[in-house]
Amino acid sequence: MTATPPPAVADMAGAPTAALAVRAEGRARGPQLSPRAAFLLRRIGRLLVSLVVVVVASFFLVHLVPGDPVRAALGIQASPELVAATRTELGLDKPIPVQFLDYVTNLLRGDFGDSIRTGRPVAETIGQRFPATVTLGVLSFLVALLAAVPIGIGAAVALQRPGRKLADALISGTLGMLIAVPGFLLAVGLIALFAVQLRWLPAAGWGSPQDAVLPILALALGPLAYLARIVQVEMSGVLGATYMTTARAKRLPGRLVYLRHALPNIITASLTVSGLLLSGMIAGTVLIETIFAIPGMGGVMVPAVGAKDYPIVQGLVIVYALIILGVNLIVDLILVTVDPRSSITEG
């Protein structure tokens, strides 16, 4: 009997946080709870814990700053009276646990405080800028997802045929280049080509559909290439699996073999990575918004960080975190529904 060689000593994958389906057999929590329900509860539990961590971290942001945060925000010229007044206004003279309590109760009421520089309510600023960021993020994500899956599948199928060394080199070369270039550099390149040289598209602004093309491309191309590569690898793995040989043995028509047998098996991996990518793209919006002068949250975040405008940074950190946690939860929900094996996962 052939002994199988050992698995390669440890793979290189970092572990995404989204649920990784583990094929365990029946280790449900208790008799009443279905495995899926238990899993969902665990996920929501983790989301709440993450939220707490973020709120706490965000609160301590101010207090971790070496020196006097208020003076740092107002600048050296600010008069002592102004500094003292601002301190009181920000509630920084109260004991810390009280401050934390105030902070949390305010948050729950939707009050994120006021910007130190402009004095305007943070919630208002965030509210105004939220739509642009979300639009940019969601559109880019959809572009990446809808393009990457067919490309990845096509690449895997193409590699099956003879003469594939050239195809392999071309495909991985192109994808590799796109992955290597970060979003903001792509943006610079795209602007230089399409806005400066060719003058086809605008380099800044956010109002008409044309304005959206370059930002979305810049944000989506890198993740697109990455996702396509993952889909390709997954698909290659699937195509080599024994159950595909079984499907071939049944002499089913080619299209049926791919659509019904291969496709469902790459969904889990693709979804998991998509979730990660979306989180990364949310962060990418910060840079892209800055470059293209898009009126989103990133456009406020960067100056606020530079100027140490804490209330804005705190508020934005929480909002960004909420978006990311929400996205992860949705991905987990879809995974649980779609993948029959993901009823039990690691806690």
Binding site: M1, T2, A3, T4, P5, P6, V9
Partner: protein, 256 residues
Amino acid sequence: MNALEIDRLSVRYGRATVVDDVSLVVPAGRTLGLVGESGSGKSTIAAAVVGLVTPASGAVRVGGVMASGHGAAARAARRRLQLVFQDPFSALDPRMTIGDSIAEALRASGKTFSRDARVDRVRELLSLVHLDPDRAGDTPAAFSGGQRQRVTIARALAGEPSVLIADEVTSALDVSVQGAILNLLRELQERFGLSMLFISHNLAVVRYISDEIAVMRHGRIVESGPTEQLLAAPTEAYTLDLLDAVPVLGVRMTTE
């Protein structure tokens, strides 16, 4: 004096009882075969006996000395037991030479070795298992499955054990190689007066090498006794089932 006594051993994984109140005896210089199917708990017994897994209750005695529990004396007694693993591919560190892997096990003997003595001893052990001593500097990748199994046996011998525990040592090998390994184990046993606990799911192999057999199922001992007796006249239904299910060369199998 029995080489190995397992006294009412129980092992739990979480809430499941994997080994349930098992008592076994390996007489000195003899081989006890432990046979069972997957999930019977036989490999867990091996792990518990050498201390890789903590038993929930029960005792293990080696040559009369308590080997389960904490303390230096128990640890020393456990060193008298050595384990030979099933999968020759994962049982050796791929980045260490086989000489180093064997040398690492010398500490279990309780003796200290100078560098030269260590090299000599490794060479000696390699020739005991009929491998070329000059290959001590090779890594496991340079050896075939059967040869690696010999290396793991040499490693087990390095600890100068009184009891050898062989856990499915032939299951990953081709038929023609199995025989050579079994012969080797027999030879070493006779030469060094080793006692052996031989664990396997293959009834024919267990029959060949064991003086006594114990049958396990779902964590419990179903039946035990001298080999010929047990196989000629089993008393338990499960044992009969097991015997019936083993295909015999050239005999049409009954399947209903």
